[in-house]
Symmetry: C2
Subunit: 326 residues, 2 copies
Amino acid sequence: MIRIGIVGYGNVGRGAEAAVLQSDDMALAGIFTRRPPESVHALREETPVYPMSLLTEQGTGADVLLLCGGSATDLPVQTPELARRYCVVDTFDTHARIPEHFANVDAAAKAGRTAAIISTGWDPGLFSLMRLLGTAILPDGAGDTFWGPGVSQGHSDAVRRIEGVADARQYTIPVQRTVNAVRKGESGFTAREKHTREVYVVLKEGADPQRVAREIITMPNYFDEYDTTVHFISAEEMAAEHGAMPHGGFVIRHGKLGPAHQYSSLMEFKLELDSNPMFTGAVMAAFGRACYRLHAQGRTGCFTAFDVPLGLLSPLAAETLRSQLL
Amino acid sequence: MIRIGIVGYGNVGRGAEAAVLQSDDMALAGIFTRRPPESVHALREETPVYPMSLLTEQGTGADVLLLCGGSATDLPVQTPELARRYCVVDTFDTHARIPEHFANVDAAAKAGRTAAIISTGWDPGLFSLMRLLGTAILPDGAGDTFWGPGVSQGHSDAVRRIEGVADARQYTIPVQRTVNAVRKGESGFTAREKHTREVYVVLKEGADPQRVAREIITMPNYFDEYDTTVHFISAEEMAAEHGAMPHGGFVIRHGKLGPAHQYSSLMEFKLELDSNPMFTGAVMAAFGRACYRLHAQGRTGCFTAFDVPLGLLSPLAAETLRSQLL
């Protein structure tokens, strides 16, 4: 049994916990939280909940830690720090800072003789693998990634920070005609041509809807480059209709093959997820298994999805994989 | 530059050759054929064509051989034999014999201190990777693989062997309602429920169409478990309408996540290919690159797609992959 520790217990932490419970070859070593442990209720009562400080103060019996904190402030600190003592898997997704994060984690893991896999999940993670396959197999081609339809946590949070907003949910929606054009090999689309954004807002009493809508639509980086629609709804409608966290998307690669580049080839990978954090947790758990095995093979340092033989993600033995899934 | 040799020059061999010509980091060491070399015309005049016997008689300057022969009789002999002297990649796809083929190639490659990757292409190969990801991430689920719409070479050949048949082309077509049911998590479908078969036949003069149709539809393994439609056409129509070799398919995995297994998750990978052999050749070329690099890392023995870190398929350096594709 691989003993898994879960560090940070938000939505993704719960997703990782549920995935470990579905995995016959894994056991939960514990949940590690910054909150008072007695205030955290794990999915199963017998799962121990510890203060996060325990991780650095003493041993925990965990073979691999799944780091379920945020990319903005948690993971840049936690992943290198914990990689000095443990095999770790994270979901670091601040794209511009991946090289720096990789270098920090690599140095820590090599010093600690541990294995770390960063930037797992579905994007980065599975979608990265699909982008890689697309460009490696169809070098003379074009492709793109679309997200949604689904809830973007980052954009929802950004709207919630606007004065007068009590609650908000932002849906990212791929533009179907652009998806179809990319499938035919067209490229060079703008952010506005690729996705639209739909925002559902519950206003605080007395807030001015026109001002709030204007602040949303013109918000730099988050909304100004998109066509955004704002809907004002009641707290009851928000609770009843927008409680789930669905997401998904497509990775499309179109390329030309043959001596005269005359043969079109389309590769497409699609995800449709009722729950983004549950699926993210499931991907993390599979990479946790791979991390454990890489370390058991004597490998140390930092890895990404590109460096991991995918057979290591499965609980099945190599011979079984060859006879059943190849 | 990775010097690639192509062994066997049928449709897949030409696909591999075209893919090597599209790859900036590869050069063609030569084409190796059982036919008289002067009768073989490579895509570029300067590409040398050698008798296959040269491979075992003397060195050839090839770093990796792409073995483009058939799984029935060529590869079971060629792959182990050539793996004693060269790094090799094949497309062995006789499913029941993969364990035996793996063991033979592994012994040969270890004896020769070479690296071999077997069963590449899109199925086995890319589709195998998708089946593995599906089952590893969604263990509580179901899924299936569909092929087509596309031409099955094996089924076309089987029809051509019937007395009175001058030419034939067989299209495999997924049944859309079954595809949709699998996307919702249903499973347990029969061969007949998953695919239909459409056969286009040119008869020899005087042949009885009723007998030929009956022999096709009742042919064990190939057609008897499917709903098959037979169309008799002229040689002209065959040449005009059925000269291409399109193919493709889907790998679908549906699973349930969450503490009460309440969240549906759908993973789907799709290929739509104008030319099956050109795409197969392109996948082989990418695995040829990976084979070269595994060997450069000191790895020897037999590998499958499950054992290869996918980053090795790309010509880009690991840092570039992390900053551009992760």
